[in-house]
């Protein structure tokens, strides 16, 4: 069981690794590497989300299919790769790049809240409520489904992919 937030936000599981950022001082060379891969992964993830949004353009008052798809897909993948990026011996830049960077940049919360409000302000309360709940429930189910995939893969490759 990974510590809460261990994959997607900052804190390191205690004792596994040195803190990535020394809050009392300046980041060291190695800590800049973490920020760099988060920036690179975030840019790649956001570009992929933007590509999905261009492919499935939203119209005013309609269900935001593109953001919905990106958020659920990102949640599925984070559940599936959590064990892989958190496993003992994983490269120290793997988690910041894949989870914090790519998946964090691919998914978005701000676009989601604005889309819910925009639909509501366009008098489409049905779309607003449906989108709000569908994304929330879909995301939680997707993370759980990702865990199931991860466990199935771990059973096929004993000793790896443990969550």
């Amino acid at each position: 069981m990974p510590r809460v937030s261990a994959v997607t936000s900052a804190p390191e599981p205690a004792g596994l690794d040195a803190p990535a950022i020394d809050l009392a001082g300046q980041p060291t060379d190695k800590e800049w590497h973490v920020l760099a891969v988060v920036a690179l992964g975030g840019a790649l993830g956001a570009l992929a989300r933007y590509a999905v949004e261009r492919a499935l353009p939203a119209t005013a008052g309609s269900f935001p299919v593109a953001t919905f798809t990106a958020n659920l897909l990102g949640c599925l993948v984070i559940g599936a790769v959590a064990g892989w990026v958190l496993r003992p011996g994983a490269h120290r830049l793997l988690r910041p790049f894949v989870a914090t960077g790519v998946l964090g940049g691919f998914t978005t919360f701000s676009t989601y809240t604005i889309q819910v409000l925009t639909a509501a302000l366009h008098s489409r309360v049905d779309v607003a409520a449906g989108y709000l709940l569908a994304t929330l429930l879909g995301a939680l189910v997707a993370v759980e489904a990702g865990f199931v995939v991860s466990r199935a893969l771990a059973r096929r490759r004993p000793g790896s992919g443990r969550r």
Partner: protein, 120 residues
């Protein structure tokens, strides 16, 4: 060109999310994901302002899709919520959902109102 703006905005937003979440989580020292809650609410406020201002397309791409999009995250929110629930911290998982939705929507609404007021 818009792809470049999205990439640059996200290249700033994602590491800023990492830093803010880390500072908040270290300061608070709780299992509750305060850090991600903070960036998701703050990002919703900022995107609300941008929406209320009716910003030009280049700003919407760079600051909206790129920066705010990468500053905030659904994967971390979903992951933390499921991990809390699986760790038998069901109340904290529920609180994370309620606080994120209520906080995020309230911040977005306040941002839209602020942006509209600034436009006049």
């Amino acid at each position: 060109m818009t792809f470049l703006l999205v990439a640059v905005g996200a290249a700033v937003g994602a590491p800023l999310r990492y830093l803010i979440a880390r500072v908040v989580d270290v300061r608070v020292g709780s299992v509750f994901p305060w850090g991600i809650l903070t960036v998701n609410v703050a990002g919703s406020l900022l995107l609300g302002v941008l929406t209320g201002l009716v910003a030009p397309p280049s700003w919407q791409a760079g600051v909206g899709v790129g920066f705010c999009g990468a500053l905030t995250t659904y994967s971390a929110f979903g992951f933390d919520t499921v991990v809390l629930a699986e760790a038998r911290e069901r109340l904290l998982a529920l609180l994370n959902v309620v606080a994120s939705l209520v906080g995020g929507l309230a911040a977005a609404l306040a941002g839209i109102a602020l942006g509209s007021a600034l436009t006049g």
